[in-house]
Subunit: 144 residues, 2 copies
Amino acid sequence: MSNLCSDEGKILYQLNEIFKQISPKFEKCTGISQSRLDLLHKLFEVDETSQTELQKAVNIDSAAVTRHLKQLEGKGMVTRRKNPNDNRFTFVSLTDEGRERIVSFRKEKEQFITKVLRDFSEEEQTSLSNMLSRIQKNVKDIQY
Amino acid sequence: MSNLCSDEGKILYQLNEIFKQISPKFEKCTGISQSRLDLLHKLFEVDETSQTELQKAVNIDSAAVTRHLKQLEGKGMVTRRKNPNDNRFTFVSLTDEGRERIVSFRKEKEQFITKVLRDFSEEEQTSLSNMLSRIQKNVKDIQY
DNA sequence: CTTAATCAATTGACGGGTCAATAGTTGACT
DNA sequence: AGTCAACTATTGACCCGTCAATTGATTAAG
């Protein structure tokens, strides 16, 4: 009875730790934060899109999206303009420079990911991914 | 070639999403943030300890530890006093009230965890935990 | 036409984390 | 003794996320 939540709790603890350890290393390796890279990545695929679309794709608060994009704009990675047909929306797109730079970011990210999954076989990866999906579903189903 | 980092990248993405989804739900279900509960949990085990010990156990910055403990002290969950033999250290311990309340927190946490791991067999849990350990190790080995 | 509802984006206040600088204490060495 | 290095805790500045309130634009209804 010494450890009320040890065995099961360990997994929660591990998920936590992994996240805390991955985030800063990811940033140091790739030179950009995960959220920002996600934003750029999405822009890379779609050319031009609204901020709400981006927000849904990246799954962070729209306030955070606004702030990220403003900074990325300041760094010349991104341009923003109002939708002429509906001034509520702002369209966002990569600049040429941004489009160029994201290529190397993606490469860094790939390298990072292969390091994280070193020694994981194809089967293990799908097995892990499936378990994580199940956890995700369980979490979603939790009622307050 | 459409998705350069899809298959492997998915796992990183999932880990991220799970963390983002778990944190707020955990807090709503248990009534306390994970870090704070970790602090209290550690205190529950050891009676009285220094802040650096706590910091190591919980694995967050010492600045954050200080701020958490000050707030917990304000809420009467925790008491702090200087180590009489070495005034650099401050000893922290649960108050009676804190000790009492943490019991229910732990119960909430256990319930939360079982919900997160619903439908996971014993074997699956250990398998998952092992994989997470391997990932943790891989992350630790990453050089900048 | 004007009013109300809705929607996108922005802003401010806050929680929680990091790092870097500082204050205060201790211990060791000359 | 006195100085210097090491160590704990604290503080301030910053990043990143949330929520809630606000602004500006559009649309729907009377």
